[in-house]
């Protein structure tokens, strides 16, 4: 079985994003970029399934600028076998990403696609569900456990009420939540090896997908700030403040 893992190059999660003064977006000039953290978890899961003998090949795919090749190299250093870079300088919305991924899905015929549950830049949380819709396949979103059993996959999902387990007929689309696993650090030899692994570069046009955004961003602004607070010197002072708030039962 083949596993397809879509990975996105995003602002590093440790960086505090700054809104541009002209309201046109977030300033990404000279900002550290990394693989979306959920996608690292997705890659790790694929590698573990391969190590367990349940998958033969892992293909990673990224839709993004030429620099997204670095993200694909990182995924290959973790253990992915080869990569597809769908190169475009445009910002591509989840629906268009899902359409491109559908074309890759049809070409590669994977048994499983593992995406991140959410990209930490757009915070959309859509792409996996959209890919599942477009391919007519079942979806297991927000996964904290993935177990293959024959031609179906059991996915434990993190839901508002706790955990839920569903069984999906493969091929299936899974999106990774934070507790699925702890991604490994790539070793130096594996980073070197990844440099020799192939990246097949394509464009959205190759797949016949129009990536023109459907939503128009009118402006991007800072969230409302909070007024400065006070530090109290003792528990007694804190008790007095809380009593003032009228929340004590």
């Amino acid at each position: 079985m083949k596993i397809l893992v879509p990975v996105k190059r995003v602002i590093d999660y440790n960086v505090r994003p700054r809104v541009k003064a002209d309201g046109s977006g977030v300033d990404l000039a000279n900002v550290k970029m990394s693989m979306n953290p959920f996608d690292e978890i997705a890659v790790e899961q694929a590698v573990r399934l391969k190590e367990a003998g349940q998958a033969e090949e892992i293909v990673v795919v990224s839709v993004g600028p030429a620099k997204a090749a670095d993200t694909l190299r990182s995924a290959m250093a973790m253990g992915a076998d080869r990569a597809v870079l769908v190169q475009t300088e445009e910002t591509v919305e989840p629906l268009a990403v899902a359409k491109i991924l559908k074309a890759v899905f049809e070409a590669e015929q994977p048994g499983l696609v593992i995406l991140g549950k959410q990209a930490i830049d757009d915070d959309c949380n859509q792409t996996g569900q959209m890919l599942a819709a477009l391919t007519g396949r079942p979806q297991g979103t927000f996964a904290s456990k993935v177990e293959i059993a024959g031609d179906s996959v059991n996915v434990t999902r993190e839901v508002d009420g706790g955990l839920e387990t569903i069984a999906l007929t493969m091929p299936a689309i899974v999106t990774a939540d934070l507790r699925l696993n702890e991604p490994r650090y790539a070793s130096l030899p594996n980073i070197m090896k990844a440099k020799k692994k192939p990246i097949d570069t394509k464009t959205p046009e190759d797949f016949g997908v129009d990536v023109t955004p459907r939503l128009k961003v009118l402006k991007v602004s800072e969230p409302a700030g909070r007024a400065a607070g006070v530090l109290v010197g003792s528990v007694d002072e804190l008790v007095a403040k809380i009593k003032d708030m009228g929340v004590v039962a």
Partner: protein, 312 residues
């Protein structure tokens, strides 16, 4: 603009997130229909409850075992044909709504607007990006609107005062792609995290599950509070995943949020910084949580919290 709201319900009652989503739908300025998908008596009760909500014009009840567990494949297939006669679909931005709405959007070939914070016009919305460190104002020219709505950003519609008719609808039932296996519900008598008036949250500083329970629970009991946690606390197994507050956990905006031994990483702040009053207790005076706190106490939680609990 005809809006369809996908109800979130359980135990025969509507969730608060449904009421907030109905408010958002009424702000679109047209008719509001509520779809209750489910199975059996509980679905019927939820539909009856939806019919009472002020501002609801019509309730559609899809009662089928295939909708009992809200499997996305089945529920999305139910909603798509209903969109022929509706202009907008609104789902609460809950784990359930986030699971289903994008599947519907893709089947309709439209881009979804996720996590709507405000409705600025019939087609203009604000939504958080970059863990809430920026707010985008977006306009959709799509043939159909598909929105998920952040519950804490909209008041709850009045649960009484309406008298909408309840009509049965049929869907295609089980798509045969997925099957519900089981769930571990963490039932509790406490108020629900996302709608509680007071939330007491614990972080990594709580050491282990026993200590978390011993320090956080008595304070939460005193304040009739829901219990939240940072990801670090959840990861370390101090408490269940459904208590995580943050960018990738639950979004809360209570009257009072008390952060105990939480540093205040941006991903955590994303889930609680719209709380009315934030109280932080942390031994590190430089912890970022103090930058958003209205009231801060620099102290060791193992001394300060039990003292606080006993004096309240």
């Amino acid at each position: 603009m005809k809006a369809l709201v996908l109800a979130e319900h359980g135990g025969g009652a509507l969730k608060d997130s449904t009421l907030s989503t109905i408010t958002a739908a009424t702000q679109l300025g047209g008719d509001v229909t509520v779809l209750v998908a489910g199975s059996g008596a509980e679905a019927q009760q939820a539909a009856d409850a939806a019919a009472q909500v002020a501002g609801v014009a019509r309730v559609l009840l899809a009662d089928d075992a295939a909708y009992g567990q809200m499997l996305a494949e089945n529920v999305a297939a139910l909603i798509v044909p209903l969109m022929d006669s509706h202009d907008a679909l609104l789902c609460p931005a809950t784990s359930n709504g986030k699971n289903i709405a994008p599947r519907v959007a893709a089947l309709l070939d439209v881009m979804q607007v996720s996590d709507v914070l405000s409705i600025e016009g019939e087609r203009t919305f604000t939504r958080p990006i970059y863990a809430g460190n920026a707010i985008a104002t977006v306009e959709s020219a799509e043939a159909k609107l598909v929105l998920t709505v952040r519950g804490t950003s909209f008041a709850k519609a009045e649960a009484a005062g309406g008298s909408a008719p309840v009509e049965p609808v049929g869907g295609s039932g089980d798509a045969g792609l997925s099957r519900f296996v089981g769930c571990e519900d963490s039932a509790s008598d406490r108020p629900e995290l996302t709608s509680a008036g007071v939330v007491v949250s614990g972080g990594r500083a709580l050491k282990d599950a026993e200590t978390f329970e011993a320090i956080i629970t008595p304070l939460a009991d005193k304040l009739h509070a829901a219990i939240g946690a940072s990801r670090a606390a959840v990861d370390a197994g101090y408490i269940g995943n459904d208590h995580q507050v943050g960018q990738t956990g639950k979004i809360v905006a209570p009257e009072v949020y008390i952060a105990v031994g939480i540093s205040g990483a941006i991903q955590h702040l994303a889930g609680m910084k719209d709380s009315k009053i934030i109280i932080a207790i942390n031994k590190d005076p430089d912890a970022p949580i103090f930058q958003v706190a209205d009231v801060g106490l620099v102290a060791d939680i193992f001394e300060a919290v039990p003292e606080l609990t006993s004096k309240l």
